[in-house]
Amino acid sequence: MKKLLEISLGVVTSIGGFLEMGEMSTAAQAGAAFNVQLVWAVVLGTICVAFLVEMAGRFSAVSGHTIIDGIRDRFGIKVLAWPLVTTVLVSLLVLSAEIGGVSIALEFATGITYRWWAVPVAVASWLFLWRGTFGMLEKGVTSLGLITLCFVVAAFRLQPDWAQVAASAIPSKPHTQAATYWFMAASILGASLSPTLFLFYSSGAIEDRWDRSYIGANRAIAALGMTFGGVISAAVLVVAAQSMHAHGIESIEDFHQLPLLLIDTFGMWGFALFAASLAIASFGAAVEVALLQGYLFAQSFGWNWGQDCPPRANPGFSLAYTCALVIGAIPIAAGADPLKLTILSMALTAVNLPLMVVPFIVLMNDEHYMGEHRNGPVSNAAVLGITGLAFVLGVVTLPLQIIGGT
């Protein structure tokens, strides 16, 4: 009974914590520009992230290590240095994007321009981490994230052609704007497969003291939580296709266009729902990404870490997330466009993926760590195949997008 409750809570928090600024922006832009044609990218991203999250939980439950800890233990600090540096840099960009997400939600709510909110949002996130516990983040903020289910309701109310949506789950070539199409696919995959998610999940499993008895619960949480999370992400894309593409809005260049996703369906309530969804989802993600910086540094250098311990017991860990929040707030306070920053950071995440995923896959196949719970060929093939696709798409389309190709 206790396990069932834990699975339910895990699934609920996975769903609530799935959508954030990156998922929302990439899915919305894709739906506006290409109707439902890019649903396949959401489907592939969801399949891959379900595998990655399941593997992350299984690895921690069986080996008693986090992924970072495992890579350092298995390959040494020199090999870990590359993925560590790039993941820290890309995560800082993602952190800026999430702080930007909360800031623009606050601009919608108050009328005060987003730049002024960057520092208060960073301070609020820091206070949450400084004073809060892992349970507050895991169960509190992510449960509030269930508000993002309003996109699923909107998708049903807009009555799309479900047969067309289902057919779009199979990859297809674009009719126009090929470079933008593939770039959007890379960004969607980057948003779904962010290392933040599985590195955080692995650290969370250690914080929650998982052991081998959690392998079944972990599998259920990863499969159900990520699948339902993917459904919300696909719903955003469908809503964008119905409320924007169908009205001739084929380009989201300004973040002020984003609330139109729900205004079309719910009117004034849609505006409030969008602002609340964006604020809660991005705040949860900002806190998680900042905390991940603490995990990354502490686990790489062997410092004390743990969100449930007081900050004075983990000075390096606390300093890392504090610095991350300071650095993450700077671009937004300086006036960087949160939407453009988000799309760029998601594409860079896709490019950076193999650096963290490849050593992780090696660990997952290492008998010393995993024993009889090693990866099967299906897990290896799915994760390496989709990660490789995201990497190739990102590497090819990112320069084209930067120089303005369509």
Partner: protein, 155 residues
């Protein structure tokens, strides 16, 4: 095996000639690719500009409709019109001289309408907003017509 000085000079000069030919072909190929890309990007840029202007105009129509029906807050509509107006203005400033007036003229009209709409919303002038909405419909129809012919002609 030793070669005489004359044989070596001949082989060297042939190699230099061959290298030069390869270099010339590479430069020609690079130029061709660059020219092709430039040609594509000029046409693509027109399409992108038209698409963005249309999206902004239609978003503005949705904001203004929402505001007229008290469905969205005035501060949000004002800020949205200001932000998209500025973004469109920047694009217009960067338009190349070669761009078709069928694209640039409606773009300028839309930018002007966004500015007028912002002032009208600020003043709470719903009659002026109605006028702007009808002008926006005309501009979007003009851009749509251009997009349609452009797509059909495949240029």
């Amino acid at each position: 095996m030793q070669h005489s000085s004359g044989q070596r000079d001949g082989a060297t000069s042939k190699r230099i000639e061959r290298d030069d030919a390869v270099k010339t072909r590479a430069v020609a190929a690079a130029l061709a690719v660059t020219m092709a890309c430039t040609a594509c990007s000029s046409s693509d840029e027109e399409q992108t500009d038209a698409r963005i202007a249309l999206s902004f105009a239609r978003s503005a129509s949705m904001w203004l409709d929402g505001w007229m029906n008290d469905g969205v807050p005035r501060a949000y509509v004002k800020r949205s019109l200001e932000s998209t107006g500025e973004a469109l203005g920047k694009r217009i400033d960067k338009l190349p001289g070669s761009i078709s007036s069928s694209v640039s003229a409606p773009m300028k009209d839309i930018a002007h309408d966004l500015d007028t709409a912002r002032h009208a919303v600020d003043a709470g002038d719903k009659a002026r907003v109605e006028l702007v909405l009808s002008r926006l419909r005309k501009s979007t129809a003009a851009l749509d017509a251009w997009k349609q012919t452009h797509r059909e002609s495949g240029s």
